[in-house]
Structures are given as structure tokens and as C-alpha cells.
Amino acid sequence: MAPKRQVRVGNQWMNARDAWHALEEARRVTLDEERRQRLHDLPFIRKYVFSTDHKVIGIQYGFTALCFLLLGFCLMILMRLQLGWPGHAFSVMKLIGEMRAPGGVLLPEAYNQLGAMHGTIMIFLGIVPLAVGAFGNYFVPLQIGAPDMAFPKLNMASYWCYFVGGVIMLASFGYSGGTANSGWTSYPPLSDIATHGQTFWLFGMVFLITSSLLGSVNFLVTIIQLRAKGMSLMRFPFFVWAQFVTSFLLLLAFPPLEAAAVLQLMDRLAHTSFFLPSGLVVSGTPLGNAGGGNPLLWQHLFWFLAHPEVYVLILPGMGIVAEVIANNTRKPLWGYRSMVGAVIFLGFMSFVVWAHHMFLTGMGTVISAFFQTTTMIISIPSVIILSALFISLWGGSIRFNVPMLFALAFLPMFGIGGLTGLPLGLATADLHLHDTYYVIGHFHYVVAPGTIFAMFAGVYYWFPKITGRRLNEFWGKVHFWISLVCINGIFFPMFMQGLAGVSRRLYDGGIQYAHAKAIAEQTNPFMSICAIGLLCAQVPFLINFFYNAILSILGHRNEIENQNPWQATTLDWAATTSPPLGHGNFEVMPVVYRGPYEYSVPGAATDWTPQHVETEEAPPTGGGMLPEVAVAQREM
């Protein structure tokens, strides 16, 4: 060891190392005091309600979105009760009002409303805000080493637009004519002549689209402009890449739906005929509109949004799964560069596959052939990403904690969802399958045990970052295993129903049709019981979540030990405290020296080398410890 150097502090000499630590401690305390003071000065409403801090906005998004997910799920429980036991009276149905379920028996009109609102709420109010608004908002700035989003006020506006959109959607439940009832796709001409619930839906959508537009501009500028020093593109954690591509999709795919919503609003309010053909007769009376419109125009505009939207739903989930897998295999991701290439290619291709949702409309074989080809091509990058994640497991010493269990379950579940999509991308097979439960099974496998499991992985993985407390592992495993079994019990029989030709829009689940009666009666009650089981499985999660969240708010946090409980390398864990500083995130802006997943580097002191640590031999630093401290310690 080198001879101890002496430095002069004030008017006394002391050991250089002790002086360094004292200074470090003094700086830390001062910064912390300043931060507390700054936060203390803010009034409550600016701190927690109209906050411009990306972390508070992220939590607002997350909480609102989780509430909407639960609401959307409860709507589905009502539908599943009806499908499992058609025409039976259930006292729980009375919750949605006598006019929708007289005597506890759901009316067909109300079933349509529940269906439309389930889809809308789950997609536009639940998963997208959770995946992008919550996880993106909270962790993208942390992972790239930015003090906040590029436009904090726009960020706040984005959340409140989303909130208003959600309120408008919810308000339609209280409206006497009922909510939108033309499906989440709102196909005209039905949606053009539907009750006023559809107008609520359209206005709600305009707000939601505005929200995601503001959000996506913000994300893109943040990622491009606010990267920390040394954070080159190939040093991004995969989650950041996924959010980057997602933001491009939101930016460019949502405006055509906005245009379509404007046109449909004109149809409904100014009596134009954009989507209404000539000579339309409704309930025996001619509609008396000018005509000449084209219902397929809506479908083109809608799916031009809604196919990229599918990737908006899945990419952030893939990003979370990649983070969790790299962390818990203690190994770099296999094929990081191919994964980045694949995700960019996926983004481009998602704009040229939309009409595979429309094979049944009789577009003509040439156009169908084009979209079949692009659809087959787009499966390649998805397979690359999934394969890379699978191969990443190979040879790792895997830690089977709760986030990892959810991430591992994502892989085969998304695999099933993706592979069952191939027959739907081929026009010939699609003609048979399109209007059946097969389609419902396919996209629910992608989105429910796929994306939602990835979201749960994210919640369990990042909960300690946000609150300073870990969620209980045992109850997390209870939540995981029951959910995994039940969710497959719901969606797997849908493939069997679909192949048997059971139509997907039937109020009684298909028992009125001879060809569908047998399989519907065999499977529907079982699926409904599984749905109720899935609901029950969320109870331990909710208790676990709120118990720990409330304790954290009350100040019960494991301040020191729990800074980086997963021993992760990315900046969000390694360079900040848990929870991070209120404004500014980092005590000192980090400098990035290496790629995102340097786990088990040969010769390194520990099996994880954080991105902001300059040399591999440095001792493992606690969360929030600064690279220069580590380096200084090593040199002394």
C-alpha cells in the first residue's frame, strides 16, 4: 500500500483518505438538505398533483393505469359470467344498473357496451399508459442519465390529457344511452348511427391521442438530447431502445386515427357521409344522408394506427423482460445488437402490414398478397428478439425471483401468441379464422400473459426503486403461479373454439348455433371459472402492493441496504438512490463508460460492473455511490 498522504483541511493536517470521505459526506449532506428544502418549498399541489417531475408523473400514470386495468378486467368478468352461464341472473350484474341488466340478467345491448369498453379501456387507458406513460416516464430518464424529461410541463399536460380522456370515457357509463357499443374498433356504418356513447368515445380518443402525441415527442427529444456523457446509442439498455421505437410509432401512427376520429365526428355531428354509403336503410327507414362514403376508409385509417399500436403494446414489455432477464441471468443479453436492429426494423415494418386485419373485406388478391408478404416478414424481427431472449438464458445461473418468473413466463406466452398469429396473416386461413374466438385467443396471448406479465415483471422489479421497499416474494409467487394457470385456462380454449368455428361476437357464447353449441357448453363455464380465479389471484398482489406502498409513504424504507437490491448495472439502479432525488435524479450527473449489461465480466471484482464505473477492478459500489469515489478509493 502506498504511504498515507496528508492533506490540509482548514488549519489541520489529516489523512487524505479520511479527508476525502469527510468532504464526500459533507457534500452529500448539503445536497440532501438543499433537495429537501427545494421540495419542501413546493406546495402540495405542485409536488404531487400538478407536478412536473417525471417520477411523480410516472407514478400518477402508473396508478391511474392500474386502476383502469382492474376496471377493464371487471367488465370482462361480467361478460364471462354471461358467456359461461348465458341468461342466468347474477346479483353482481346489478352493479351496472337495472337498465343494463334487469333482474341481474345482462342485456345483449349491455354486452356490446361492455365489449367495446373492455377493449378501449384495456388498450388505450390501461396498457399503453402503464407501459409508456408509467414505466417509460419513470425509467427512461433514469436509464439514460437525464435530470428529467426534456419538456417537464408538456409531460404534465400529457398526463392530464390522458386523465381527461379517461374521465370522458368513464362519463359515458353514466349517460342514459349507454357507452360506445360498436367494439373497440368502432367500425362504421354501425358506429356512425350508434347512440351518443360513441360521441363520448370519439372525444375521449381525441384527448388520449393528444396525450400520446405530447408524450412521444417528449420521449424522443429526451432520448436524443438528454443522454448522459458517454451514453452512446449502443450503450442504451434495451428498454430505452424499445421505448424509443415505441415513441416513433405513437408519433406517426396515432395522427391518422385522429383524422379518422375527426371524420367520424363530422359524420355524427355535421351529418356528413364520409363512412356512409349511398342508400343506407336503418331499421326499415332510409337514412337520408348524402351517401357516397366508404366504410372501408375507416378500417384503413383505423388499422393504420392499430397495427403499430400492437407493437406499442408489446415493445415496452419486451424491453422490461430484457432488463429483468439480463439482471437475473447475471449475463449480458445474447445478441444485443441484433435485438436493436430487429426492434428498429419491426418499427418500420409495422407501418406496412395494417390491411392483414381486413382480408375479409374483399380487397382483392394483389393487395392481399402484398400484405401477406409484409406480415410474414414482420414475424422475423419478433422471432429474433424472442430467440435472443431465450438464448440469453443459456448457461446463466438464473435467480428465480418474482420479476424473473414473470419475465420467463412472458417468453412462451408471447411465443404462443406470436405463432398463432401466422395463420391469421395468411389470407386463406384467415378467411376461416378471422371472425372466430381464435383471433381473441391470439391477441390475448400476446397482450395478457404477454404484455401484462411483462408489466408485472416491471412492477416487481422496479417497485424497490420507486418506494425503497421490496414486494414480498412469497405472495408474489402465489400471485404468479395462480395467474399463470388461470390465464392459460381462459385463453387456450379460445383456440379450440375458434377452430371449431365459434363466432367471436356472440352474446350467448355460441350456444344458439348447432356447430358451436357442444364446444361452447364444454369450455365456456371452465373459462369463466378461470377468469374468476385470475381475479382472485390479483388479491395478494393488491395487498402486497398497497401494504408496501403505504409503509414506504410512512417512511419505512431500508435506506442503505436496499439501494440496488438486484445488483443491476444500469444507471437507474446503480447511479441513483432508491427512491431517486426529487428534482434532478442524480447527485452528480453520471458519466457512462460501458455497455448496459456487463454482468460476470471476467476478472472483475464482482459479477456486475455498473455502466458509470470507469474501471472493472473497482470495488462494488452501493447505489448512489459515485464513480470518482470508487476510483479515488482504489488509487489510495
Partner: protein, 206 residues
């Protein structure tokens, strides 16, 4: 006192005013370009709808017979003029001349106002001839697209009004940032102008 306290809370976001060396732009400039990309998709979807409706229709009215070309032509020149004046406003601010900059912002705002008044007059002429959005799909798309474009003009006018009044206080503290803001709103204004350059021949002349 409060203003000072507020400024203290304001977090310093990097590259808010000066460009980031490796990307060459400041945040808002990149932001507005991305926003305009999404606007291209919005109007692109509407132009595509117009093409689809028109090619699918057995007959389609010719714009110059049913619409009022003269006021629209005047409007085209008014908007082109305003695009010039907004650049002059920015150029003068860059040279440090707030007074001239404000005059040109004012002229731009006035051009926007003239455009909206002529547009209102034109709508009125159409209504007098009993041409409404519900008349046929030509008028439906005409009113929708020009209406949405008008809303964009109105949005720009609100922003210019802000910069002409309370917004110009920023000049005294952060002249560079204020100049940037005019540049950014100028980019938006050019886009709105460009949309009209496409709308005018497509709806009125073809």
C-alpha cells in the same frame, strides 16, 4: 419574490437554449420537427381520404365551379407574406432588435387574422349557396380540411399574441431563448402555410 422562488424551483434542463454539440439542435427545435412529422401524418391521412373518396365517386364537383377561387387566391398570398414576415421577425431578434422583431410578429399575426376573416367570408358565401358539410362528400371534405387548417392558423395566432404581449418579457432575461421560441413557432407557421399551399390547388383548382 415569488418569481424568484419559482425560478429557483425550475430545474435546469440541458440543451434547453443552446444546441447539443453532437446533434446540432436545441430541444425545442427537435421537438417541433417531430411534432410536424406527426402533423404530416394527420393531414396526410386526410389527403389520402380525399383521394379515396374522389376516386371512388361516380362524379365529383370541380372546385373552381363550386368554390370561390378569388378570395382563396388572395388568402394564399396573405399566408405566403406571413411566412416571410415571421422569418424577418426571427432575423431581427437574432440581430438583437426587439422593436423591429415585435413589429414583424405583429404583421404576421395580422396576416393570420386577415386570412381567418377572408375564410369566414368564403364560408359564408358557401352557406348562402346552400353548400353545407352534409351536402355531399366534396363539401364535407372541403369544410373538414379547411376547418382543421383554420384551427391550426388560430393556434398559431394565439401563440403569436402571447409572444407579442406577456411572452416577450422573456427577452429581457433570456434573449436567446426568446429568439428560439420565435424560430420554433416560425417552423410551425411555415408548415401551416405549406398545408394551405397543398389544399388550395387540390380543393379549388383540380
Amino acid at each position: 419574490m415569488t418569481a424568484h422562488a419559482d425560478a429557483h424551483h425550475e430545474l435546469e434542463i440541458p440543451y434547453n437554449v443552446m444546441p447539443r454539440p453532437d446533434t446540432g439542435v436545441y430541444n425545442a427545435k427537435l421537438g417541433v420537427w417531430l411534432f410536424l412529422a406527426s402533423e404530416v401524418m394527420l393531414f396526410g391521412a386526410l389527403f389520402s381520404s380525399l383521394i379515396l373518396l374522389r376516386t371512388g365517386a361516380p362524379s365529383w364537383p370541380v372546385g373552381k365551379d363550386t368554390l370561390h377561387v378569388l378570395p382563396a387566391t388572395v388568402n394564399t398570398f396573405v399566408l405566403i407574406l406571413s411566412s416571410v414576415t415571421v422569418v424577418l421577425a426571427w432575423a431581427n431578434l437574432r440581430l438583437g432588435n426587439l422593436k423591429k422583431g415585435r413589429i414583424f410578429i405583429g404583421i404576421t399575426l395580422l396576416c393570420g387574422l386577415i386570412f381567418m376573416l377572408i375564410k369566414a367570408y368564403e364560408y359564408n358565401l358557401s352557406f348562402e349557396h346552400h353548400h353545407f358539410p352534409s351536402t355531399n362528400n366534396f363539401f364535407a371534405i372541403y369544410f373538414t380540411m379547411t376547418g382543421l387548417h383554420g384551427l391550426h392558423v388560430l393556434g398559431g395566432m394565439i401563440v403569436f399574441t402571447y409572444f407579442l404581449t406577456v411572452g416577450s418579457k422573456m427577452w429581457h432575461k433570456e434573449p436567446q431563448r426568446f429568439t428560439n421560441r420565435i424560430e420554433v413557432v416560425g417552423l410551425y407557421w411555415h408548415f401551416v402555410d405549406l398545408v394551405w399551399i397543398f389544399l388550395f390547388p387540390t380543393l379549388y383548382l383540380l
